[in-house]
Amino acid sequence: MIKLLTSLVLVLYVASAHAYEERSFDNPAEEALFDTLVKELRCLVCQNQNIADSDADLAVDLRREIYSMIGSGKTKADILDFMVQRYGEFVLYKPRFNARTLVLWFGPGLLLMLGGFILYRSTLSNKEQTSPDAAALARARSLLDEE
């Protein structure tokens, strides 16, 4: 039992550990900002990973850069601007809201509404088709009665 607990604790400890270097922050807010930023920024070298998960040299450098910018009192917007100016909007896992990204932001919702509308229309017309008229019902009944 003790063994099991110990291994469980160890596993959980590892799971909660950061994949990247330990750093010390002046306050929890700065640490939280760092954690959000490294998760929201894409590593350009291995493009399906964020800066937090990536082991690439560039990701290490960018974590260091972000850390030092936070240390010098830069805001989240400042740091995101810094990254976009250098690497383009592609670095943002969460795209900005502007004219170019309108389709991205509203597309899924619009498609969902369109789908819902089509579904509504088709079930409505199905209902109309399948509901038999009174005469047909009467005929069916009389046929059944004959049996």
Binding site: L44, V45, D57, L58, D61, E65, R86, Y87, G88, F90
Partner: protein, 176 residues
């Protein structure tokens, strides 16, 4: 009429997928194009105490080639750069990225030195300013210090002939 709907949807998806086939997802368009080249002042490789500043290139069309000895693709494009330098049409400035000076100097001695000079970016901090992410990268900068083109990965002869050299000629001819 209704049976056409799936066909139309299929055609639309096909068109998007077809467009996607031609795109290389590893090439990210640089936001630097059309913007002033990030300035830097860095030590010059092999010249004790010498410094290079991007200021010195004002009034010239030039190429910035970011390279390193640990970069295999850089070795691939190197002969082409040496050849280009031999033609004397455009100055190539090297930026040796996160490398060791001794190795870099050895490389230039063995493979030839196409650069008017090589600036040393030991920490990679200047690379970040240039949005560098995939060695090698080559930038074309115009006379007023505006970045006009970025090539990611090794420059192939076709890239040089079709894109870089015509652009250099055009920029040279321009008065700006």
């Amino acid at each position: 009429m209704k049976f056409l709907i799936p066909l139309i949807v299929f055609a639309a998806i096909s068109v998007f997928l077809l467009i996607g086939l031609d795109k290389d997802p590893t090439v990210v368009p640089s936001p630097l194009i059309g913007k002033p080249a990030p300035e830097f002042t860095l030590p010059v490789l092999g010249r004790e105490g010498a410094q290079f500043s991007t200021e010195e290139m004002k009034g010239k069309v030039w190429l910035l080639n970011i390279w390193a000895t640990w970069c295999v693709a850089c070795r691939v494009e190197h002969p082409l750069l040496v050849e280009l330098a031999g033609q004397g049409v455009v100055d190539i400035v090297g930026l040796n990225y996160k490398d060791q000076d001794a190795l870099a100097m050895q490389w230039l001695k063995e493979l030839g030195d196409p650069y008017v000079l090589t600036a040393v970016d030991q920490t990679g901090r200047i690379g970040i300013d240039w949005g560098f992410y995939g060695a090698p990268e080559t930038f074309v900068i115009d006379k007023s210090g505006i970045v006009r083109h970025k090539h990611i990965g090794p420059v192939a002869p076709a890239d040089l002939q079709n894109t870089i050299l015509p652009l250099v000629a055009e920029l040279e001819a321009g008065s700006s």
